[in-house]
Protein backbone atom coordinates (compact mmCIF):
# COMPACT_ATOMS: atom_id res chain seq x y z
CA UNK A 1 0.00 0.00 0.00
CA UNK A 2 1.56 3.31 -1.00
CA UNK A 3 1.87 5.79 1.83
CA UNK A 4 1.97 9.31 0.46
CA UNK A 5 4.34 11.89 1.82
CA UNK A 6 6.49 9.57 3.88
CA UNK A 7 9.87 8.42 2.63
CA UNK A 8 11.29 8.51 -0.84
CA UNK A 9 12.00 4.84 -1.49
CA UNK A 10 13.31 4.30 2.02
CA UNK A 11 12.57 1.10 3.88
CA UNK A 12 14.75 1.16 7.01
CA UNK A 13 13.26 0.80 10.47
CA UNK A 14 12.72 4.58 10.60
CA UNK A 15 10.79 4.27 7.35
CA UNK A 16 8.73 1.38 8.68
CA UNK A 17 8.02 3.31 11.86
CA UNK A 18 6.98 6.33 9.85
CA UNK A 19 4.71 4.15 7.69
CA UNK A 20 3.07 2.64 10.78
CA UNK A 21 2.53 6.05 12.30
CA UNK A 22 1.16 7.41 9.03
CA UNK A 23 -1.29 4.49 8.71
CA UNK A 24 -2.50 4.82 12.29
CA UNK A 25 -2.91 8.56 11.80
CA UNK A 26 -4.70 7.94 8.47
CA UNK A 27 -7.06 5.60 10.26
CA UNK A 28 -7.98 8.29 12.77
CA UNK A 29 -8.58 10.76 9.94
CA UNK A 30 -10.63 8.32 7.85
CA UNK A 31 -12.78 7.34 10.82
CA UNK A 32 -13.45 10.96 11.51
CA UNK A 33 -14.38 11.86 7.95
CA UNK A 34 -16.35 8.66 7.27
CA UNK A 35 -18.16 9.07 10.57
CA UNK A 36 -19.04 12.60 9.51
CA UNK A 37 -20.03 11.49 6.01
CA UNK A 38 -22.23 8.75 7.43
CA UNK A 39 -24.32 11.06 9.58
CA UNK A 40 -24.33 13.74 6.87
CA UNK A 41 -25.62 11.19 4.34
CA UNK A 42 -28.42 10.09 6.64
CA UNK A 43 -29.44 13.72 7.20
CA UNK A 44 -29.41 14.38 3.46
CA UNK A 45 -31.52 11.31 2.68
CA UNK A 46 -34.06 12.25 5.29
CA UNK A 47 -34.12 15.78 3.91
CA UNK A 48 -34.83 14.43 0.39
CA UNK A 49 -37.71 12.42 1.80
CA UNK A 50 -39.14 15.47 3.54
CA UNK A 51 -38.90 17.57 0.37
CA UNK A 52 -40.62 14.83 -1.62
CA UNK A 53 -43.46 14.60 0.91
CA UNK A 54 -44.02 18.32 0.67
CA UNK A 55 -45.00 17.79 -2.97
CA UNK A 56 -48.15 16.01 -1.67
CA UNK A 57 -48.48 13.99 -4.88
CA UNK A 58 -49.14 10.25 -4.35
CA UNK A 59 -46.21 9.26 -6.53
CA UNK A 60 -43.72 11.54 -4.81
CA UNK A 61 -45.08 10.43 -1.44
CA UNK A 62 -44.28 6.85 -2.38
CA UNK A 63 -40.81 7.95 -3.47
CA UNK A 64 -40.41 9.79 -0.19
CA UNK A 65 -41.25 6.64 1.74
CA UNK A 66 -38.82 4.63 -0.34
CA UNK A 67 -36.09 7.19 0.17
CA UNK A 68 -36.66 7.34 3.87
CA UNK A 69 -36.60 3.58 4.08
CA UNK A 70 -33.19 3.68 2.41
CA UNK A 71 -31.70 6.01 5.03
CA UNK A 72 -30.76 3.32 7.60
CA UNK A 73 -29.25 1.23 4.81
CA UNK A 74 -27.07 4.14 3.77
CA UNK A 75 -25.97 4.58 7.35
CA UNK A 76 -25.26 0.84 7.62
CA UNK A 77 -23.30 0.87 4.40
CA UNK A 78 -21.18 3.75 5.64
CA UNK A 79 -20.56 2.00 8.95
CA UNK A 80 -19.47 -1.13 7.10
CA UNK A 81 -17.17 0.99 4.99
CA UNK A 82 -15.62 2.43 8.16
CA UNK A 83 -15.18 -1.02 9.68
CA UNK A 84 -13.67 -2.29 6.45
CA UNK A 85 -11.22 0.63 6.43
CA UNK A 86 -10.26 -0.25 9.99
CA UNK A 87 -9.65 -3.88 8.98
CA UNK A 88 -7.58 -2.91 5.95
CA UNK A 89 -5.44 -0.45 7.91
CA UNK A 90 -5.02 -2.80 10.87
CA UNK A 91 -3.90 -5.55 8.49
CA UNK A 92 -1.35 -3.22 6.89
CA UNK A 93 -0.05 -2.05 10.26
CA UNK A 94 0.21 -5.66 11.41
CA UNK A 95 2.22 -6.58 8.30
CA UNK A 96 4.59 -3.65 8.88
CA UNK A 97 5.00 -4.53 12.56
CA UNK A 98 5.80 -8.08 11.53
CA UNK A 99 8.49 -6.70 9.23
CA UNK A 100 9.83 -4.51 12.03
CA UNK A 101 9.77 -7.40 14.53
CA UNK A 102 11.59 -9.85 12.30
CA UNK A 103 14.07 -7.75 10.39
CA UNK A 104 14.78 -4.90 12.81
CA UNK A 105 14.24 -6.22 16.30
CA UNK A 106 15.34 -9.81 15.77
CA UNK A 107 12.08 -11.30 17.01
CA UNK A 108 9.89 -14.18 15.89
CA UNK A 109 7.21 -13.54 13.28
CA UNK A 110 4.05 -12.14 14.90
CA UNK A 111 0.93 -14.22 15.65
CA UNK A 112 -2.06 -13.18 13.53
CA UNK A 113 -4.26 -10.16 14.11
CA UNK A 114 -7.45 -10.77 16.12
CA UNK A 115 -10.03 -9.04 13.92
CA UNK A 116 -12.80 -9.78 16.41
CA UNK A 117 -11.14 -7.43 18.89
CA UNK A 118 -10.67 -4.47 16.55
CA UNK A 119 -13.43 -2.58 18.34
CA UNK A 120 -16.60 -1.07 16.93
CA UNK A 121 -16.86 0.67 13.56
CA UNK A 122 -14.35 3.46 13.32
CA UNK A 123 -12.26 2.38 16.28
CA UNK A 124 -8.87 0.69 16.16
CA UNK A 125 -7.97 -1.04 19.38
CA UNK A 126 -4.45 -2.10 20.29
CA UNK A 127 -6.13 -5.20 21.77
CA UNK A 128 -6.48 -6.64 18.25
CA UNK A 129 -2.70 -6.89 17.98
CA UNK A 130 -0.75 -9.83 19.41
CA UNK A 131 0.38 -9.19 22.98
CA UNK A 132 3.99 -8.20 23.58
CA UNK A 133 6.03 -6.18 21.13
CA UNK A 134 3.26 -5.45 18.57
CA UNK A 135 0.56 -4.48 21.05
CA UNK A 136 2.83 -2.29 23.15
CA UNK A 137 4.22 -0.66 20.01
CA UNK A 138 0.72 0.13 18.66
CA UNK A 139 -0.45 1.27 22.09
CA UNK A 140 2.61 3.54 22.42
CA UNK A 141 2.16 5.02 18.96
CA UNK A 142 -1.65 5.39 19.28
CA UNK A 143 -1.24 6.92 22.72
CA UNK A 144 1.53 9.21 21.55
CA UNK A 145 -0.29 10.19 18.35
CA UNK A 146 -3.30 11.46 20.22
CA UNK A 147 -0.98 13.74 22.20
CA UNK A 148 1.97 14.24 19.84
CA UNK A 149 2.57 17.43 17.93
CA UNK A 150 4.86 18.34 15.06
CA UNK A 151 6.21 21.83 14.53
CA UNK A 152 7.44 22.88 11.11
CA UNK A 153 10.99 23.91 10.39
CA UNK A 154 9.74 27.36 9.41
CA UNK A 155 8.00 27.80 12.78
CA UNK A 156 11.17 26.69 14.56
CA UNK A 157 13.22 29.21 12.57
CA UNK A 158 10.74 32.02 13.29
CA UNK A 159 10.71 31.45 17.06
CA UNK A 160 12.07 34.50 18.90
CA UNK A 161 15.53 34.52 20.46
CA UNK A 162 16.01 33.94 24.19
CA UNK A 163 16.29 36.88 26.54
CA UNK A 164 19.61 37.11 28.43
CA UNK A 165 18.01 39.16 31.20
CA UNK A 166 15.47 36.44 31.99
CA UNK A 167 18.25 33.82 32.12
CA UNK A 168 20.26 36.00 34.50
CA UNK A 169 17.19 36.68 36.62
CA UNK A 170 16.43 32.94 36.85
CA UNK A 171 20.03 32.24 37.94
CA UNK A 172 19.81 34.89 40.66
CA UNK A 173 16.50 33.48 41.93
CA UNK A 174 18.05 30.00 42.13
CA UNK A 175 21.13 31.24 44.00
CA UNK A 176 18.90 33.20 46.38
CA UNK A 177 16.99 30.09 47.48
CA UNK A 178 20.11 27.94 48.02
CA UNK A 179 21.27 27.60 51.65
CA UNK A 180 23.71 30.44 52.46
CA UNK A 181 26.71 28.13 53.03
CA UNK A 182 26.41 26.79 49.46
CA UNK A 183 25.62 30.04 47.64
CA UNK A 184 29.15 30.99 46.56
CA UNK A 185 29.82 27.53 45.17
CA UNK A 186 26.50 27.32 43.32
CA UNK A 187 27.08 30.76 41.86
CA UNK A 188 30.55 29.77 40.64
CA UNK A 189 29.13 26.59 39.08
CA UNK A 190 26.13 28.21 37.38
CA UNK A 191 28.06 31.25 36.11
CA UNK A 192 30.90 29.23 34.59
CA UNK A 193 30.96 29.68 30.78
CA UNK A 194 30.99 25.87 30.28
CA UNK A 195 27.84 25.36 32.36
CA UNK A 196 24.53 25.72 30.54
CA UNK A 197 22.27 24.20 33.19
CA UNK A 198 20.22 27.37 33.72
CA UNK A 199 20.33 28.38 30.04
CA UNK A 200 18.97 25.02 28.82
CA UNK A 201 17.05 23.64 31.83
CA UNK A 202 16.16 26.67 33.96
CA UNK A 203 12.65 27.76 35.00
CA UNK A 204 12.59 30.51 32.34
CA UNK A 205 12.54 27.81 29.61
CA UNK A 206 9.00 27.27 28.30
CA UNK A 207 7.26 24.30 26.70
CA UNK A 208 7.75 25.76 23.23
CA UNK A 209 11.54 26.00 23.73
CA UNK A 210 11.61 22.38 24.94
CA UNK A 211 9.55 21.28 21.94
CA UNK A 212 11.94 23.02 19.53
CA UNK A 213 14.97 21.53 21.28
CA UNK A 214 13.66 17.95 21.12
CA UNK A 215 12.14 18.32 17.67
CA UNK A 216 14.80 20.42 15.91
CA UNK A 217 17.80 20.56 18.31
CA UNK A 218 17.26 24.31 18.68
CA UNK A 219 18.91 25.37 21.99
CA UNK A 220 16.55 27.17 24.44
CA UNK A 221 19.16 29.94 24.91
CA UNK A 222 19.28 30.55 21.15
CA UNK A 223 20.35 34.06 20.22
CA UNK A 224 22.23 34.84 23.44
CA UNK A 225 25.98 35.22 23.73
CA UNK A 226 27.76 31.89 23.99
CA UNK A 227 24.77 29.90 22.68
CA UNK A 228 25.06 27.58 19.71
CA UNK A 229 24.41 29.37 16.41
CA UNK A 230 21.63 26.98 15.40
CA UNK A 231 20.01 28.12 12.14
CA UNK A 232 17.71 27.06 9.33
CA UNK A 233 19.93 27.96 6.39
CA UNK A 234 18.34 30.60 4.18
CA UNK A 235 19.10 29.14 0.75
CA UNK A 236 18.16 25.47 1.22
CA UNK A 237 16.41 25.33 4.64
CA UNK A 238 18.82 22.79 6.05
CA UNK A 239 19.13 22.89 9.85
CA UNK A 240 22.77 23.66 10.72
CA UNK A 241 23.81 23.35 14.35
CA UNK A 242 26.41 22.00 16.73
CA UNK A 243 23.91 21.85 19.59
CA UNK A 244 23.55 18.18 20.53
CA UNK A 245 20.19 17.08 21.90
CA UNK A 246 18.76 13.64 22.60
CA UNK A 247 15.09 12.67 22.15
CA UNK A 248 14.27 14.39 25.47
CA UNK A 249 14.37 18.05 26.53
CA UNK A 250 13.53 18.93 30.12
CA UNK A 251 13.43 21.86 32.54
CA UNK A 252 12.66 22.73 36.16
CA UNK A 253 9.49 24.77 36.58
CA UNK A 254 10.69 27.00 39.44
CA UNK A 255 13.88 28.28 41.08
CA UNK A 256 13.00 26.23 44.18
CA UNK A 257 12.58 23.03 42.17
CA UNK A 258 15.95 23.68 40.48
CA UNK A 259 17.70 24.33 43.80
CA UNK A 260 16.36 21.42 45.92
CA UNK A 261 18.11 18.42 44.26
CA UNK A 262 21.32 20.45 43.97
CA UNK A 263 21.18 21.15 47.72
CA UNK A 264 20.57 17.46 48.39
CA UNK A 265 23.71 16.70 46.38
CA UNK A 266 25.74 19.35 48.18
CA UNK A 267 24.51 18.05 51.53
CA UNK A 268 25.99 14.64 50.73
CA UNK A 269 29.16 15.89 49.00
CA UNK A 270 30.06 18.41 51.70
CA UNK A 271 30.28 15.65 54.32
CA UNK A 272 33.39 14.25 52.61
CA UNK A 273 36.54 14.79 54.74
CA UNK A 274 37.99 16.90 51.92
CA UNK A 275 34.76 18.69 51.16
CA UNK A 276 32.81 18.84 47.89
CA UNK A 277 35.97 18.82 45.76
CA UNK A 278 37.25 15.79 47.66
CA UNK A 279 33.95 14.02 47.06
CA UNK A 280 34.13 14.75 43.32
CA UNK A 281 37.79 13.64 43.16
CA UNK A 282 36.80 10.35 44.74
CA UNK A 283 33.75 9.74 42.49
CA UNK A 284 35.39 10.76 39.20
CA UNK A 285 36.88 8.61 36.49
CA UNK A 286 39.36 10.41 34.20
CA UNK A 287 38.13 13.75 35.49
CA UNK A 288 34.43 13.12 34.82
CA UNK A 289 31.59 12.20 37.19
CA UNK A 290 27.89 11.66 36.43
CA UNK A 291 25.35 11.31 39.24
CA UNK A 292 21.67 10.52 39.52
CA UNK A 293 19.60 12.10 42.29
CA UNK A 294 16.29 10.28 42.77
CA UNK A 295 13.20 12.48 42.89
CA UNK A 296 12.41 11.80 46.56
CA UNK A 297 16.00 12.40 47.67
CA UNK A 298 16.02 15.62 45.64
CA UNK A 299 12.68 16.75 47.09
CA UNK A 300 10.97 16.85 43.70
CA UNK A 301 7.20 16.55 43.34
CA UNK A 302 4.94 16.28 40.29
CA UNK A 303 4.76 19.74 38.74
CA UNK A 304 8.38 20.59 39.57
CA UNK A 305 9.61 19.54 36.13
CA UNK A 306 8.38 19.60 32.55
CA UNK A 307 9.71 18.00 29.40
CA UNK A 308 9.23 17.15 25.75
CA UNK A 309 10.16 13.79 24.31
CA UNK A 310 10.03 12.24 20.88
CA UNK A 311 6.79 10.36 20.20
CA UNK A 312 7.37 6.61 20.59
CA UNK A 313 10.87 6.72 22.10
CA UNK A 314 10.22 4.33 24.99
CA UNK A 315 13.25 2.06 24.43
CA UNK A 316 16.84 2.87 23.35
CA UNK A 317 16.37 1.27 19.88
CA UNK A 318 13.10 3.19 19.38
CA UNK A 319 14.90 6.38 20.47
CA UNK A 320 17.69 5.71 17.95
CA UNK A 321 15.13 5.23 15.17
CA UNK A 322 13.54 8.51 16.16
CA UNK A 323 16.86 10.43 16.25
CA UNK A 324 17.56 9.20 12.74
CA UNK A 325 14.15 10.42 11.57
CA UNK A 326 14.92 13.78 13.14
CA UNK A 327 18.31 13.93 11.39
CA UNK A 328 16.54 13.12 8.14
CA UNK A 329 13.90 15.83 8.71
CA UNK A 330 16.68 18.38 9.32
CA UNK A 331 18.06 17.91 5.80
CA UNK A 332 17.55 20.35 2.93
CA UNK A 333 14.07 21.07 1.65
CA UNK A 334 13.23 18.68 -1.14
CA UNK A 335 15.17 15.80 0.37
CA UNK A 336 13.72 15.77 3.86
CA UNK A 337 10.59 14.02 5.19
CA UNK A 338 8.08 15.70 7.55
CA UNK A 339 9.09 16.79 11.07
CA UNK A 340 9.13 14.34 13.98
CA UNK A 341 6.50 14.59 16.69
CA UNK A 342 7.04 15.37 20.35
CA UNK A 343 4.95 14.97 23.50
CA UNK A 344 4.77 17.18 26.56
CA UNK A 345 5.15 15.35 29.89
CA UNK A 346 6.28 15.64 33.49
CA UNK A 347 9.15 13.16 34.10
CA UNK A 348 8.65 13.27 37.88
CA UNK A 349 4.89 12.67 37.72
CA UNK A 350 5.00 9.90 35.16
CA UNK A 351 7.98 7.75 36.07
CA UNK A 352 8.75 5.92 39.34
CA UNK A 353 12.53 5.98 38.72
CA UNK A 354 12.68 9.67 37.84
CA UNK A 355 15.07 12.24 39.21
CA UNK A 356 17.94 14.49 38.15
CA UNK A 357 21.13 13.77 36.21
CA UNK A 358 24.14 15.83 37.24
CA UNK A 359 27.54 15.90 35.50
CA UNK A 360 30.91 17.37 36.50
CA UNK A 361 34.22 17.54 34.71
CA UNK A 362 37.60 18.58 35.99
CA UNK A 363 39.11 21.44 34.03
CA UNK A 364 42.08 23.76 34.37
CA UNK A 365 40.15 25.78 36.94
CA UNK A 366 38.88 22.87 39.00
CA UNK A 367 35.51 21.14 39.01
CA UNK A 368 32.92 22.47 36.56
CA UNK A 369 29.24 21.52 36.62
CA UNK A 370 28.65 20.56 33.01
CA UNK A 371 24.95 19.82 33.04
CA UNK A 372 22.03 19.27 35.41
CA UNK A 373 18.53 18.31 34.30
CA UNK A 374 15.37 16.38 35.25
CA UNK A 375 15.00 12.95 33.69
CA UNK A 376 12.56 10.04 33.77
CA UNK A 377 15.31 7.58 34.76
CA UNK A 378 19.03 7.23 35.45
CA UNK A 379 21.19 6.51 32.39
CA UNK A 380 23.01 3.15 32.58
CA UNK A 381 25.68 3.29 35.30
CA UNK A 382 25.10 6.87 36.39
CA UNK A 383 26.20 6.91 40.05
CA UNK A 384 23.11 6.85 42.31
CA UNK A 385 23.58 9.54 44.96
CA UNK A 386 21.62 7.44 47.47
CA UNK A 387 24.37 4.80 47.37
CA UNK A 388 27.04 7.40 48.12
CA UNK A 389 25.42 8.82 51.25
Amino acid sequence: MPVPGTFGGVSGSGGVRRAIETLLRAHADVSRSLGGASSAAAVRVTRVAEVAREARHPVTRAVADDVEAAAPAVERAMAELTAETGRVLATEVHALLDLLAVSHHGQESLPPLDLGRLGGPGSLSAEAFPSGFARSYVATVLGDLSRGAATSKAEAAAHPAADQASIDAARERIIAVVAPEHRARVRAWLEHPDCHAVEIHGPQVGDRELELRAGWTRPPDHGTEGADTWQVRKDDHKVVSKHRAGPDASAFTSAEAFARPLEAFLGVAARHPHGVDGFLDECADLGWAAFFIKADQGGLQPGDTTARRGAGTGTPPAATDWIRMRNDAMKKDGECPPPVRTISYDPIAEHPDSGVRLVFRHGDDGWVMVTYYPSDSPAPDNQPLEELT
Binding site: G12, S13, L286, A290, T315, T371, A379, N382, Q383
Partner: protein, 170 residues
Protein backbone atom coordinates in the same frame (compact mmCIF):
# COMPACT_ATOMS: atom_id res chain seq x y z
CA UNK B 1 33.52 -11.43 34.02
CA UNK B 2 30.96 -10.47 36.67
CA UNK B 3 30.34 -8.07 38.27
CA UNK B 4 31.57 -5.04 36.32
CA UNK B 5 34.36 -3.01 37.89
CA UNK B 6 34.05 0.45 39.42
CA UNK B 7 36.30 1.85 36.69
CA UNK B 8 34.04 0.36 34.03
CA UNK B 9 30.83 1.66 35.60
CA UNK B 10 32.34 5.10 36.10
CA UNK B 11 33.39 5.44 32.48
CA UNK B 12 30.27 3.81 30.99
CA UNK B 13 27.97 6.00 33.08
CA UNK B 14 30.25 9.05 32.71
CA UNK B 15 32.40 9.99 29.72
CA UNK B 16 30.86 7.25 27.54
CA UNK B 17 27.21 7.83 28.49
CA UNK B 18 25.67 9.34 25.38
CA UNK B 19 22.32 9.14 27.17
CA UNK B 20 23.61 11.52 29.85
CA UNK B 21 25.59 14.16 27.96
CA UNK B 22 26.11 13.94 24.20
CA UNK B 23 29.02 16.42 23.92
CA UNK B 24 30.97 14.48 26.56
CA UNK B 25 30.43 11.23 24.64
CA UNK B 26 31.59 12.80 21.38
CA UNK B 27 34.69 14.25 23.06
CA UNK B 28 35.52 10.95 24.76
CA UNK B 29 35.26 8.97 21.51
CA UNK B 30 37.56 11.50 19.83
CA UNK B 31 40.09 11.42 22.70
CA UNK B 32 40.45 7.65 22.90
CA UNK B 33 43.44 7.44 20.49
CA UNK B 34 45.33 10.06 22.51
CA UNK B 35 44.39 8.44 25.82
CA UNK B 36 45.66 5.07 24.55
CA UNK B 37 48.84 6.67 23.20
CA UNK B 38 49.44 8.17 26.66
CA UNK B 39 48.97 4.70 28.14
CA UNK B 40 45.98 5.76 30.29
CA UNK B 41 45.34 2.61 32.32
CA UNK B 42 41.66 3.48 32.98
CA UNK B 43 40.95 3.47 29.23
CA UNK B 44 42.96 0.31 28.57
CA UNK B 45 41.07 -1.47 31.37
CA UNK B 46 37.75 -0.09 30.13
CA UNK B 47 38.46 -1.33 26.61
CA UNK B 48 39.47 -4.80 27.79
CA UNK B 49 36.44 -5.15 30.07
CA UNK B 50 34.07 -3.91 27.35
CA UNK B 51 35.36 -6.65 25.05
CA UNK B 52 34.74 -9.26 27.78
CA UNK B 53 31.15 -8.06 28.37
CA UNK B 54 30.50 -8.29 24.63
CA UNK B 55 32.09 -11.75 24.43
CA UNK B 56 30.21 -13.17 27.45
CA UNK B 57 26.94 -11.17 27.26
CA UNK B 58 27.69 -10.26 30.87
CA UNK B 59 26.40 -6.69 31.00
CA UNK B 60 22.91 -6.98 32.57
CA UNK B 61 20.10 -6.40 30.06
CA UNK B 62 18.93 -2.78 30.13
CA UNK B 63 15.34 -2.05 31.23
CA UNK B 64 12.82 -3.08 28.53
CA UNK B 65 15.61 -4.53 26.39
CA UNK B 66 16.73 -8.05 25.58
CA UNK B 67 20.22 -9.32 26.37
CA UNK B 68 20.90 -9.42 22.63
CA UNK B 69 19.80 -5.80 22.22
CA UNK B 70 22.04 -4.85 25.14
CA UNK B 71 25.03 -6.65 23.58
CA UNK B 72 24.39 -4.84 20.30
CA UNK B 73 24.27 -1.52 22.17
CA UNK B 74 27.75 -2.29 23.58
CA UNK B 75 29.04 -3.22 20.09
CA UNK B 76 28.00 0.26 18.89
CA UNK B 77 29.88 1.80 21.82
CA UNK B 78 32.95 -0.30 20.97
CA UNK B 79 32.92 0.96 17.38
CA UNK B 80 32.43 4.58 18.48
CA UNK B 81 35.21 4.45 21.08
CA UNK B 82 37.71 1.91 19.80
CA UNK B 83 37.21 1.73 16.06
CA UNK B 84 36.47 -0.80 13.36
CA UNK B 85 38.45 -3.79 14.65
CA UNK B 86 36.08 -6.36 16.14
CA UNK B 87 36.39 -6.70 19.93
CA UNK B 88 38.56 -9.74 20.75
CA UNK B 89 36.52 -12.89 21.17
CA UNK B 90 33.25 -11.42 19.88
CA UNK B 91 31.16 -14.50 18.96
CA UNK B 92 28.93 -12.43 16.64
CA UNK B 93 31.14 -9.86 14.90
CA UNK B 94 29.37 -7.10 12.97
CA UNK B 95 30.07 -7.28 9.21
CA UNK B 96 32.42 -4.38 8.46
CA UNK B 97 30.23 -3.14 5.61
CA UNK B 98 27.27 -2.53 7.97
CA UNK B 99 28.90 0.38 9.81
CA UNK B 100 27.76 3.75 8.53
CA UNK B 101 25.46 2.19 5.96
CA UNK B 102 22.78 0.00 7.54
CA UNK B 103 24.07 0.44 11.08
CA UNK B 104 24.33 3.94 12.55
CA UNK B 105 25.89 4.56 15.95
CA UNK B 106 25.29 7.38 18.45
CA UNK B 107 28.51 9.12 17.35
CA UNK B 108 27.41 9.08 13.72
CA UNK B 109 23.90 10.33 14.54
CA UNK B 110 25.11 13.20 16.73
CA UNK B 111 28.57 14.26 15.53
CA UNK B 112 28.50 13.80 11.76
CA UNK B 113 26.98 16.21 9.25
CA UNK B 114 27.63 16.71 5.55
CA UNK B 115 28.92 20.24 6.29
CA UNK B 116 31.82 21.12 8.58
CA UNK B 117 29.66 23.76 10.28
CA UNK B 118 27.36 21.05 11.66
CA UNK B 119 30.02 18.41 12.33
CA UNK B 120 32.09 17.91 15.43
CA UNK B 121 35.63 19.26 14.98
CA UNK B 122 37.06 15.80 15.51
CA UNK B 123 34.65 14.09 13.10
CA UNK B 124 36.98 14.12 10.09
CA UNK B 125 39.70 12.23 11.98
CA UNK B 126 37.17 9.89 13.61
CA UNK B 127 35.66 9.04 10.20
CA UNK B 128 39.08 8.58 8.55
CA UNK B 129 40.16 6.12 11.27
CA UNK B 130 37.08 4.06 10.39
CA UNK B 131 37.37 4.42 6.63
CA UNK B 132 34.05 6.27 6.47
CA UNK B 133 33.09 9.58 4.85
CA UNK B 134 30.83 12.32 6.19
CA UNK B 135 28.85 12.29 2.96
CA UNK B 136 28.32 8.53 3.20
CA UNK B 137 27.12 8.62 6.81
CA UNK B 138 24.94 11.68 6.18
CA UNK B 139 23.36 9.93 3.22
CA UNK B 140 22.66 6.88 5.40
CA UNK B 141 20.39 9.00 7.65
CA UNK B 142 17.80 8.62 4.87
CA UNK B 143 18.41 4.96 4.15
CA UNK B 144 18.20 1.48 5.52
CA UNK B 145 18.96 0.85 9.15
CA UNK B 146 18.73 -2.83 9.95
CA UNK B 147 18.94 -4.41 13.38
CA UNK B 148 20.57 -7.81 13.34
CA UNK B 149 18.18 -10.53 14.49
CA UNK B 150 19.15 -12.62 17.47
CA UNK B 151 21.34 -15.45 16.12
CA UNK B 152 19.84 -18.94 16.04
CA UNK B 153 22.36 -20.28 18.57
CA UNK B 154 22.20 -17.25 20.89
CA UNK B 155 20.18 -19.06 23.59
CA UNK B 156 22.89 -21.74 23.65
CA UNK B 157 25.58 -19.07 23.87
CA UNK B 158 23.84 -17.53 26.89
CA UNK B 159 23.36 -20.90 28.55
CA UNK B 160 27.00 -21.85 28.09
CA UNK B 161 28.26 -18.51 29.42
CA UNK B 162 25.91 -18.74 32.41
CA UNK B 163 26.96 -22.31 33.20
CA UNK B 164 30.61 -21.31 32.97
CA UNK B 165 29.96 -18.58 35.57
CA UNK B 166 30.77 -15.79 33.12
CA UNK B 167 27.39 -14.12 33.43
CA UNK B 168 24.34 -14.07 35.65
CA UNK B 169 20.99 -15.14 34.28
CA UNK B 170 18.76 -12.08 34.24
Amino acid sequence: MIPRSKNFRGLLGGWFSVETHIPGYIEACERVPAWLAEGKQEIIDFRDELAVHIRDSSYPALPSMTQWGTDEWLRDLWFDAFGPDTPPGDPYPVPAADWGTTRLTPYMLHAVDEDDEGSSEGAAAWLAQRDLTAQGVYGAFSHEMIRRPEPADYADHLRRATEAGLREDG
